[in-house]
């Protein structure tokens, strides 16, 4: 395939990718089965009693009251605070610390409270995110290096590295 043709196809595909990103964002609230953070930021009261799945960073844990406070963010930066009535435990201790990240599935109640059906601890603490980023950075470097062992860049595009 000629370079000019490949360039033209790549430009069209880049535009398609941009369009996909826009459509994904515009249609997300309609496609997601629960009220999203955007929806809740606009009209929380209309969704009380509905099921929800919230993704948020843990800001406080009250083991005595069995309450987990988490913070989620809408696309426009509005911060939403939720209080889930379940602290997940592991060996009798809270399975998550402040700074951790959780998914909470349950029913929305007034004042940001959630009657929790299920909680998944995604990051037990703030360090978990650093761990994932560090390991992913190693993967990015080694994966790219592995590719460069076999391929070399030329003006016409990637070509097989010989010898």
């Amino acid at each position: 395939m000629r370079l000019s043709v490949r360039l033209a196809i790549a430009v069209v595909l880049c535009l398609a990718l941009g369009g996909l990103g826009v459509h994904y964002a515009v249609s997300y609230d309609d496609r997601w089965p629960y009220p999203t953070e955007n929806t809740l930021a606009d009209d929380y009261g209309d969704h009380i009693g509905e099921e929800t799945l919230v993704f948020g960073r843990v800001t406080a844990i009250d083991t005595a009251a069995d309450e987990l406070t988490l913070e989620a963010e809408a696309d426009d930066g509005t911060r939403l605070e939720f209080v889930a009535d379940d602290v997940p435990t592991d060996g009798g201790q809270p399975a998550v610390q402040e700074g951790g990240f959780v998914q909470v599935y349950g029913t929305l109640e007034p004042d940001g409270e959630i009657a929790t059906s299920e909680t998944v601890v995604v990051n037990p603490n703030a360090r978990s995110e650093t761990y994932k980023l560090a390991v992913s950075a190693i993967a990015l470097l080694t994966g790219t290096a592995y590719f460069f062992v076999h391929w070399r860049p030329t003006l016409a595009g990637w070509e097989v590295r010989r010898g």
């Binding site: 395939m1 826009v22 964002a25």
Partner: protein, 175 residues
Amino acid sequence: MAELLSHLLLVWAVLTIASWRLEWLTPRWVAVGVIGGILPDLNRLAIGVPERAIADLLGVPFQLDAIHTLGGVVILAGIGAMTFAQNQRRAFGLLFAGAFVHLLTDAVKSYADGQAAMWLYPLTSYRHPTPNLYVSADPEVLALSIGVAGIVFVVDRRRRIRPNSTQLREKRRDA
């Protein structure tokens, strides 16, 4: 998503096993598949380039998470394939295969409501049930991936050292 290292190790293992049956799937093409395994996680660019800034620039809502879907990786694999001087179709196939293994691995991780992400977008917004096998911060996921890749590496080395049946037939014929 699991951390990227687990994804790339699993992509490498799957494609290396496939190479035992497919003669054309040489290590250089496995390497292309490994790069494909990175594609879905390019939505992580949002860490460095805030989506809000892109949306403000475009004047319309925009989410990089579209990349972490079937439609996103098809387009990205297409763009990637166009950067190859030859064999663009094969490059597309391998980039897509790597990205697809990545998405499949993510399709079995934990969700509190028991249903996976809408990764089949834009074909459908269906969220299939997930077996809730892992969360991304589980070190066990990385340990398992290293174990699987290690076993595949050892078997692959043995296969390369040991002459295959065709070579053996040729040797017998020459004798």
